[in-house]
């Protein structure tokens, strides 16, 4: 019995799959949020605020989109928030102290992001270390480097106006940075849902050994997901810097949690093997609307950031428990003649 066959999505032939029960539930949650905040919030459902919401969700959306393939393979990347900070600082440094013009500095930053992702990938695939511990170490390293480069206090400001346009301007009616998100979302969607890469990510997530015997170059596929994550974290650093107008060492603190939450909320199994791009985007929307909405409701306005943190944590736990409970129910329903077959390789 192969899990891949049980999963209709992994056949990959229909361009648009019917939405899953999980995604439908999430859609209901998102719509409920919208209704509640429209009724109770001040100036929530205005065009400006919607654009604002999109702007604020782009970085977490980018990180979540590339976190999803990693979690599909049964891995995790805790270093993305720190890498965002490091890339923001590197970008500022290259632009101000290195004398590069901003497109060149941005391109160099993306390369640095890819190299940082490559460091994670090398340690995880070559040394066979758990992704958790590797990215926990680089989480500390990248943030530390960002602090060291800026001596803990330096910030890069007075960025050129055409660069700030990326963070505050509009292109064809949409916030400029939304186009970055759309392009990356389309790319990841193609990769995960339309190519054999996506199938191999799932196969690795279900059973790494099985995937290897099936002829999948497991190391190369896994490495690809981490390099992709580093590259896109650098892109997120650029849109983040453009949005705030400054590059500081504390950029993106805690974004790894938000990204992981969005992915898990979006129905991706934390044990690997199942997950979708539309689900992830819905997860991002649920968090983005929650955080924006709380800051628009008079009762929660003053403590919106704390409440968003608490609710994100609680939502993550609820999403995980929901997954665990449904797994438990499936296990109960299934006749257990085949003994205790492990449904997922439990990543440590």
């Amino acid at each position: 019995m192969t899990h891949a066959a049980a999963n209709p999505r992994s056949r990959g032939s229909p361009a648009f799959h019917a939405i899953t029960a999980h995604e439908a539930l999430l859609l209901v949650i998102v719509l409920t949020e919208i209704v509640l905040f429209t009724l109770s919030g001040r100036r929530f459902a205005t065009g400006d605020n919607v654009a604002n919401m999109v702007r604020h969700s782009v970085e977490i959306g980018l990180l979540a989109l590339v976190m999803m393939p990693i979690i599909l393979t049964g891995g995790i990347d805790l270093s993305v928030g720190s890498l965002l900070g490091l890339c923001a600082v590197t970008f500022g440094k290259l632009w101000r102290d290195g004398g590069l013009n901003w497109p060149l500095a941005a391109a160099a930053t993306v390369v640095i992001g890819a190299i940082a992702g490559g460091l994670n990938a090398t340690l995880i695939t070559r040394l066979r270390l758990p992704p958790l511990i590797v990215t926990l170490a680089t989480y500390s390293l990248f943030r530390g480097l960002a602090e060291s480069l800026t001596r803990g206090v330096d910030a890069f400001t007075n960025l050129p106006a055409d660069f700030l346009f990326l963070g505050t301007g509009r292109i064809a009616g949409l916030p400029a940075q939304a186009w970055v998100l759309i392009v990356i979302a389309a790319g990841v969607w193609l990769l995960v849902h339309q190519t054999s890469f996506g199938r191999s990510f799932r196969a690795i997530g279900f059973a790494p050994e099985g995937a290897r015997y099936a002829g999948i170059p497991v190391n190369r596929r896994v490495a690809l997901t981490y390099v992709l994550s580093g590259t896109v974290a650098a892109l997120a650093a650029i849109t983040y810097t453009a949005r705030f107008g400054t590059a500081k060492a504390d950029a993106g603190t805690g974004y790894e949690l938000a990204a992981i939450t969005a992915v898990v909320l979006g129905g991706t199994s934390i044990f690997g093997g199942t997950g979708t791009v539309p689900g992830t985007l819905l997860g991002v929307a649920a968090i983005g609307i929650l955080s924006n909405g709380l800051s628009r409701v008079p009762a929660t306005m003053s403590s919106a950031s704390e409440l968003t943190g608490i609710l994100t944590g609680v939502l993550l736990l609820l999403a995980l428990s929901g997954g665990a409970l449904s797994r438990g129910i499936v296990r109960l329903r299934r006749p257990t003649t085949s003994g205790k077959s492990q449904p997922h390789p439990v990543s440590s």
Partner: protein, 309 residues
Amino acid sequence: MIRHSRELSVAAALAVLLTLLAIFAPAFYEPQPLLSRLASAAPRLLIACGVALVMITRQIDISVGSLFGICSVGGGLAASNGAPLAVAVAVAIGLGIAGGTVNGVLVAAMRLPSIVVTLATMVTWREGLRLWRQGVFINLPDGGQWFGLPMRAGQITICCFSILVVLFLAIALRHVAAGRFLYAVGSDAEAARLAGLRPNWTTFGVFALLGGLTGLGAALHMVQSPQVDPATGRGLELEAIAAAVVGGVAVAGGRGNLWGVLVGFLLLSCIGPALTYAGIKPYWDRTTQGVIILMAVIADGLRRQKGCQ
């Protein structure tokens, strides 16, 4: 391969560092600052040991820093409201056990991955504390500092007490059946189950124990200063994990001991002052910490690869 080679090499590194400090910065060894430094490090050592126990069981807990803050504030509030010191300490430990229990239930009973569970509890506790206290410091009553002892006696008490706790844990881990369970569960939970252990209870217990140690550490930290900073404990989880990894606790579980953690913790604690004496600015601290963790992790990986061949 020599047994305990990792612990011995870390101990050698510590010896080299201490020798270098003795030659180039003898001021490091002046008794009073050294004692103060040890006393302020003692609570963190307890937590590092707790995290090591969790890692030996093949789990991880990154919520200890936030939990430490909650325990400190809880104990501090009890003390500032006139409760006797013993009650304040009990409150801190109780809150710690409660926090550990939450993680334990979610990981052991619900079978959720510990990294995501503790990531969620880390941010929930931290933001909850911020919401509750809004960053206000708590002033502690005068009598409670250093358990009412003179400062030096208080510091010696804290150091000795912490060493006793670590000693107790280290011996229990090696010679008591419950301690061996951690290795069994960390090496192979399924095999441990077939051997008649209850991996879920072991996992639950080790999280609750870590919570209790976090509360104890918070209490020992609280008596050292006249105020409680609600942001205390930030980044503690990484420091603890680093000490465990440097001290030879295998990241994949089932291997390591608390002597190694003790040596690793001392090594990491000495690097900060050593860098200061060497004239390196404090904003390099975190980078150094990251590099050291990474080196320890790489050493672990290389050794495992060698072990496979």
